[in-house]
Amino acid sequence: MKVFLLYPDRDFDISQKLPANTQDLSQDLGLITLFDAMSEGDEFLFEVVRQVVLSSLDEINIISYRQEILKDCLKHPDIVRKLYDIPLEFLERKRKQWLWFPPRHSSPSLILSCAHHLLEASHELLRKLRQIADEHTKIFESRGFRRFFTMIQKELNDEYLDTIEKHIRTLKFPKGILISAQLGRGNEGTNYILCKPNNRNQNWIERFFTQRTPIYSFSLHPRDEYGARVLGDLRDMGLARTANAVAHAAAHVESFLNLLRWELAFYIGCLNLYEKLEQLEEPICFPKPVFADERRFSCTGLYDVTLALTMKQKVVGNDIIADGKDLILITGPNRGGKTIFLRSVGLAQLMMQAGMFVPAQSFLANLCSGLFTHFKREEDKNMERGKFEEELKRMSTIVDHIKPNSLILLNESFASTNEREGSEIAMQVMNALLEAKIKVFYVTHLYEFAWGFKEKKMKNVLFLRAERLPDGRRTFKVKEGDPLKTSYGQDLYKSIFKDMPKVFSE
């Protein structure tokens, strides 16, 4: 029984390694915000969407396989959620049954009864699963769901469960046992020693001289299960093997349901996100990926989904055409929306290559063989490296992993040294990356560097600028435009320090 909802021909490999720069991507693109929105506080969903989104696809065919399934999900959210409820219900029952002890260290009688309950529970749920398959096969259009439902109808039968159920045994209580004990710390029993009762076949003289001592006895209430368990601990040791065997059988059914839960979780995450964006009246679209060796990028209404989610409102989108461009240089005023644009590009690329919809009215881009980010950071908390060296070190690590047709997003890289030297390094790095066929989006304040490129008049370079209106207001839109020299720092200073007396200024 195979689930195959993420790939046409295989399970998702949970053990596959995430890209080496996962930590940087998460931090720079604000992926936690995205995953939080998709998982709605559910740790499991979070882990699944994190793994799937970060394990980028590089085949257009698999991307459209997932896009088809996701479109089915958006059309029939109720059915899909009902489907997802099946493994959840199983989990819930399982959790309830084993509430008292963790499974691996439970007493044998508990394991036995739990395994029994698990099989009972899964039996009913698998029947429910088949019922959904029977009812809805026809209205689902994706290859993925059609295959899944057909498989369920064919392969699930009662025989499988019946076989396992035969393994369930009930066991008799053994005879009473005698244990000697003393009071330890806190008056808790200690030095428990299993004892042989004294021989009753004493002659009448011995019996006569044996001093009679009081005996107190206690009968458990018939429904006092916990009490019975306490008494049953010794007896339980004998049950270990049988319990072990039945538990293994139950584990078998469990693994199928777990896998179903895992793969569906990704689509549930997408559904959650979709519903949130719908509420904010933010658009989504299914992107068109093209081959990695082309240079395509065009979007309308591309917005930063994490910003929309954080602000809980519709945010500014951008319309950009950058077909045929290898380097997109973004300049402009502070607080003008540059970082937000950069992040929106990275998020859209990542979501597209996970088979998801993207936050835009339309989006078309070439696949990338790897996504990298190099954003300005605070100092290394281990203190062994200065700021600039930390930047270089991160860039060097990126160069270790980057391949032709990768996409790299740079945010104020090389700005932690002075401007002239920063520009020099940026120029060297950029020339080399472009020649290695790497696509670059670069937000920069390095004026000398940006103009250096402008003067070269290269066809494969596009200049974007965060818009600032004549009256100084920012629109947070990014548009085509050449770098400008000032960064408006003095405006800000004057407005923030207006309540203090002026000091000298040349």
């Binding site: 915000t33 003393q182 008056n187 005996i215 072990n244 060097s396 020099e424």
Partner: protein
């Protein structure tokens, strides 16, 4: 001589700060305090470390106690006491959660036994110690009175008696299906060996999945409680004595001992933390502290967080000096990246802060200023939920700092205004510098803007130096001299293989 608190002088009690000061993470003091208090969570020491003292006399009070505790034998005795009180607390918190009377009483008795042992021992050890500090001398006197008090004497004697009687009892349990019996032990023979043989036969070696491990019981079930109840019926005298004891001694911990136990850990935790560093040859000293005199210095100082981080590495730590003589107020640090500038700035802040706690500071000799507040501004990590631009954020923060600053405040600025153009950065920095000098503020400013080093007689230029024979080797020595204009950017790029030629070779088409 009356005893009040081992942390505070009688007329100088400050309420403890309940949240971490803003500048902690910039100065890496969060790491330091985390490392100091990590293994002492239960004492809730953070608020003490978050509360700097406001007068010089209060600092001396603590310095004296620190010095007394540097006696290793005395320290070992204090720790032994603390360990036992910890056990007492553990037992008592357990008692609160227990459901059954004789169980609860059993643990209360254990707690009382450990408490009385710990207290007597401490009083004995205090008497032997040669103490100088006002705080500990007063505490010793108080302790002598306490252990001779009638309350304490009766606690000790009764507890020992009751325990003796209980531990001598022996009984048997007979378990049957759905019921059990309890009686006095009557010499029955050990049967466990035969039982073990039975289980040996049932063991499966190749499957480990669901095999059972005997659960370790904590607490007591109602069944065990019932058994205990029966044992009490079998031996009523011993349990009556226990009841009597518990009724008389339900709250036996003295309040002064309780707060001494917490507060002494401020000293223990700090001295423990620096002990290992001292063993590795790093100097610590008790600084002279003044709230008036702005002439300060340190000789062979270092960053405590860095020293701790390097603890397990084979790297040596570089020690640095600084001094300010009237009218000097601000140290402007320039020099190559990764040259130790930030570390130096942190050290400046840490030394002042640690001195204000009454702690020995990382350095061979020091005179420091007792500040009213410390303001720091280090570059922040980009944060998606922070929707303000970075430069605006910088400016707003510095504006806030200046509006709250007084001539007694310390400023530590590290590479501010890096998110704007060179021209803007110079202009804005000069404006800020001027405001700081008008306030007569002391501090450190790390920057690559050499223009700032020569602004006035209040600024002192210090430079992170490199090896004269190889400019890529940093000495981490920060020396008082004019900014020398050397930057090492390209040599660094080469080191990380990021020049044009190097990258071309590294990325394969």
């Amino acid at each position: 001589m009356s005893f009040h608190s081992i942390l505070w002088m009688e007329n100088g009690v400050q309420s403890e700060t309940m949240s971490q000061p803003d500048f902690f993470s910039d100065l890496n003091l969060d790491q330091v305090v985390e490392a100091i208090t990590a293994s002492k969570q239960e004492y809730n020491l953070n608020p003490i470390f978050w509360t700097p003292l406001r007068n010089v006399e209060a600092i001396r009070y603590r310095q004296e106690i620190m010095r007394d505790l540097e006696d290793e034998i005395f320290m070992a005795h204090i720790k032994k006491f603390a360990e036992k009180i910890r056990t007492v607390r553990r037992y008592l918190s357990m008692v609160e959660k227990l459901d059954f009377d004789y169980h609860r009483e059993g643990w209360l008795l254990e707690a009382a036994l450990v408490y009385s042992e710990a207290t007597v021992e401490l009083a004995h050890n205090l008497a032997k110690a040669s103490l100088r500090s006002r705080g500990l001398l007063a505490f010793r006197e108080w302790m002598n009175g306490y252990i001779q008090s009638q309350t304490f004497r009766s606690l000790v004697i009764e507890a020992q008696q009751v325990k003796q009687n209980l531990s001598e009892l022996k009984y048997s349990i007979i378990i049957e299906s759905g019921k059990f019996k309890v009686k006095r032990y009557e010499g029955e023979i050990d049967y466990s060996i035969e039982v073990e043989k039975t289980f040996e036969k049932l063991r499966q070696k190749d499957v480990d999945g669901y095999l059972w491990k005997l659960p370790e019981r904590t607490g007591m079930s109602h069944i065990e409680a019932k058994i205990l109840e029966f044992v009490a019926k079998l031996y009523p005298e011993a349990f009556a004595a226990l009841d009597h004891f518990c009724a008389n001694h339900s709250y036996f911990i003295n309040e002064i001992i309780q707060s001494f136990d917490r507060e002494i850990h401020f000293y223990i935790s700090y001295l423990d933390f620096i002990a290992e560093l001292k063993r590795r040859g790093l100097p610590f000293c008790y600084p002279e502290v003044s709230s008036m005199d702005k002439e300060i210095f340190v000789h062979d100082g270092f960053d405590l967080a860095l020293a701790n981080a390097l603890q397990h590495k084979e790297k040596s730590l570089i020690l640095n000096d600084f001094s300010l003589k009237d009218p000097e107020r601000l140290i402007v640090v320039t020099g190559p990246n990764q040259g130790g500038k930030t570390t130096f700035a942190r050290m400046f802040g840490q030394l002042h802060y640690l001195a204000s706690l009454g702690c020995p500071v990382p350095g061979r000799e020091a005179r420091l200023f007792l500040f009213d507040r410390i303001f720091t501004h280090f570059e922040q990590k980009e944060d998606v939920s922070n929707l303000r631009g970075k430069l605006e954020d910088d400016l707003v923060r510095i504006h806030n700092m200046i509006s709250h600053a007084t001539p007694h405040s310390l400023f530590i600025l590290n590479e501010i205004f890096t998110s704007t153009t060179l021209k803007d950065a110079v202009l804005l920095s000069r404006e800020i510098m001027e405001r700081l000098m008008n306030l007569d503020i002391m501090g450190v400013w790390v920057t690559f803007l050499e223009e700032l080093t020569t602004l006035s007689e209040k600024t002192v230029s210090m430079v992170a130096t490199v090896d004269p024979h190889d400019p890529t080797i940093r000495t981490f020595k920060i020396i008082r001299k004019p900014a020398d204009g050397l930057a090492y950017t390209l040599s660094l790029a080469k080191k990380y293989q990021l020049t044009y030629e190097q990258i071309k070779k590294r990325v394969h088409l």
